[in-house]
């Protein structure tokens, strides 16, 4: 309920402001946290990333339009060594995050630990190959959705001014 309220509030803010201002707000809410998890692997890495994406999707119309138009998919993340996990569901032009790893998925990413996930997501681009080569990550399902997720993460970084 609280989450739903928060989402409405963010969407409202997004509607009230121009794209440029919405982007500034998104930076205000998320930049520092994302900047941190790009270089530091902590147990809250997945929570921070998914939250930052959710905030940005709510606030930033162009981020939403560029990435969520007619897109649906369920991403399940689980970790072998730490209590990290969650589900990101995309449907109806929105992103829904839940802390549980749901059974149904389009693609499931099982990573060894937070560092493995950090490297996987932020090593220039999702470093699928190296993560697989090093046996740090196991993927189940449609790999194309990983590439799509990788773009959404990189697009978030760009919008937060972290790519330059």
């Amino acid at each position: 309920m609280l989450k739903q309220l928060q989402r409405w509030l963010l969407q409202l803010l997004g509607r009230m402001f121009s794209d440029a201002w919405a982007n500034k707000l998104a930076r205000l809410f998320s930049r520092r946290a994302v900047e941190r998890i790009r270089v530091e692997a902590t147990d809250d890495i997945l929570d921070i990333l998914l939250y930052a994406m959710e905030v940005c999707f709510c606030l930033d119309r162009s981020y939403r339009n560029d990435n969520l138009r007619a897109f649906s998919g369920i991403y399940v993340f689980t970790a072998a060594e730490r209590p990290i996990g969650g589900t990101a569901r995309f449907a109806n032009g929105r992103m829904y995050v839940s802390p549980e790893a749901e059974k149904e998925f389009t693609v499931r990413v099982r990573f060894k630990n937070a560092e493995a996930l950090r490297r996987f997501l932020f090593a220039g681009s999702p470093d699928v190959l190296n993560a697989l080569l090093d046996d740090q990550v196991e993927l189940d399902g449609n790999l194309n959705y990983i590439y799509k997720f990788g773009f959404m993460v990189s697009d978030l970084e760009r919008r937060l001014g972290l790519l330059d």
């Binding site: 999702p126 699928v128 190959l129 190296n130 697989l132 046996d135 449609n142 194309n144 773009f151 990189s154």
Partner: protein, 855 residues
Amino acid sequence: MPGSEGTMNARVTLTDLALSGCARSARVERLRKAYFEACPEVCIERPSLVTKLHREFGLFEQARIGAWDKARVYRRTLECRKAIVWHSTARTRTGETFSFDASSPFAGSTTSKFKGVLLYPEFMALALWPELHTVSRRSANPYQLSAEDADQLNREVFPAWLDRSILESARAAAARSGKPKTEQPDFSLLQYMVFFLASKPECISHTIPSFSRAVGEGLRAVVNDARKRAATEHEPAHSFHKALAEVLEGVIQYSRKLADEAEQLAASEPDQQRRAELVELARIHRRVPEERAETLREGLTTVWMCWIACHLENPNIGLSLGRLDQLLYPLYRGDLDKGTLSIEDAVELCCCLWLKIGDHVPMVPQAGEQLFGGTGSNQAITLGGVDVEGKDAVNDLTYVMLRAIELMELRDPNLNARYMQGVNPPEYLHRLCQVNLDTRATPALHNDRAVIEALVAAGDTLEQARDYGIVGCVEPASNGRTYSHTGAILLNLTSALELALFNGRHRHTGLDRRIGIETGDPSKFQCMDDFRAAFECQVRWLADAAVNVNNALGQAHQSWYPTPILSALFEGPMEKGRDLIDGGATINSSGVTIIGLADTADSLSAIQKLVFEERQLSLVEFISAVRDDFKGQTALQARLMNPAKTPKWGNEDEVGNDSVRWLVELLNTVFSSCENYRGGRYRVGYWTMTNHAGFGRLMKASPSGRGAGENFASGFTPVSGVTPELTAVLNSVSAVPTQALRNGVAFNLKFTPHPNDPALLAAFVHTVETYFSEQGEHPGGMEIQFNVTQREDFIDAVKYPDRYPELLVRVSGYTAYFKDLTPKMQEEIINRTEYELATGAAVHPEVIHLVTTGD
């Protein structure tokens, strides 16, 4: 005049085979400079048009896509493509645009860019998705991509293929099949990366089209043939023949559009010479490829137009051009006899065509750079050898093309030269060796006698085998009639060894989990035969898994990716009324290449010698040392790496040679008994591209003494550093049974160059002659390729890559620019055994480490 066996070859009339009077013309110099300056740019023309047309024709909603569906897409794409006569701008690595005078005797381009990156969203292009914002700035082999184009890919193109790429289609089809999981192809094995790679998610491509009808009759005649057949046939042949006519009509239209564009440019061109060139281009493109070619330039233009069309449909990985010197010689001779062409003109035409052929690069995502970094499109051209009657086929155009290769020193096309000892003239071999010294890395040399024997053993007729061309890196296939997909499976043989050592478990995936089959506790093995039996079981299991995955992917191609363009340019589909993907070719085969042959053989030899012959230690103790990466066992490791104490392939050691012989015969038996999805058979070869570094990185220590993460030996080459005598290496490698090497081999040698020593060429020629010479029933070694670069230059090029933009090297099969390779591959090439040709002795400079093992 050069001849052979006392007979004159009337097709060689040149007095100077080196054509030393022919240099790069001013035009070629200009184009080549721009070529090296240009950074590849991602081209979105093809993916945008193909995606739009799939939507327009409702193909995304169809359960299957037929040849006619694809033909409509390709014809419209060819008609809608922007006709670019000459590119005049390109972008540098830093993104700056530069202009140049790009007038060329050939119009058109594979992409809308001067040097383009082709994207096939039907295959693996979506792997570039995460990099759309960063690919222009990545450190290894960047591609330029504008923000607008990136936006279009993200919004319009890639989303359409999320659930429809070939890999995903195959995976979904397997899941839908209702079969129990144990009977479905195990795609998860692909994900571990350590067992095998299958290339069908990325392409088939590895084959040689036939241009003979296009050049000799013109595409209009082929269109008419297809239409005539369609008129009297029932489905599915009716639609298939209609599809062939449709795509060829598209190729003709594209050429006419270029003619229109050239005419328009000519009308506004103030410079008289350029105007005349444009008028001539327009004239040629109005005639060919629709009509039969009457001049060399028209013949080359026909090939070029067909080549562009082939790449519209087939990813630019390993699609090869075949025996152009044979195909085009009559046109060349005709021009010369009429006095309308000089030899210098012919060389310039070839130089310009080589640049056109190299106008695109394959899309390699950042992650893929690790395995395939620095690869070109591997478009092989084959020269020389014998004709279908077994007679000397070397002609003047062979030397013209060779000279053009020598002058250009390009990565693509990848030159392969055939040589039949006793039939081709010795002067020809001299010339091939000279070009190798000049270019430092090309051409690769193929022994006709050995290759033809291997192809006949695989089932080709003698005539078909004699007309072989080289595909991709080094794979032989009958020219224009074998749909070969020579790179279908890349199998890591050392994984079979690993599974035998650990009873079906693999250190990479964890010794607590069984992946392969249980083949027995090694402590119970009483003799080498017991160990070999376990290993053989694991090889059969691995081969079975790889073949199942490849066949499932092949079936996905059959359902969603028929290839009418390639089918129209091939021997078989027209007559059979069937697409290549459905077995329309005259000969159908699939290729397997093995990674880790020498390391596996040396490991088997070590186990045989130390454990079962000399009883130095038990197999359990040996496995324990290997599992611990020889920690605390340096003496054992040193002994294993010492060729005087442990058998190594490449030293004429009976045990070493026996291990390799047993392995290649086993692999040939196992794979040749497997049927592919087109009803053909699998053929096994030994060339590794850069995968010996990639797979080496994944694998832990080997019983051969190799440490964890170290590179494997490349291709069909003994392990580096353990073969001190060149002659012994040549004898060992050439002794392997040729009939079991049906998908080609890459035998890499490195020589110390002495630029001012005239004896070097003679020694070089002698080495090749020795390696290729018949020994009783045995036809001699199959293939050999060289790097002849100063070690200091390599080391300097690592430090200062910008000083060596054109430094060409043979990797293991293809040629690459040294600066583009990964540090791991650069290290492997620097550390390859290097021989002094004068003495035949290995030189042993210190081993260079550019990368920490395991990085």
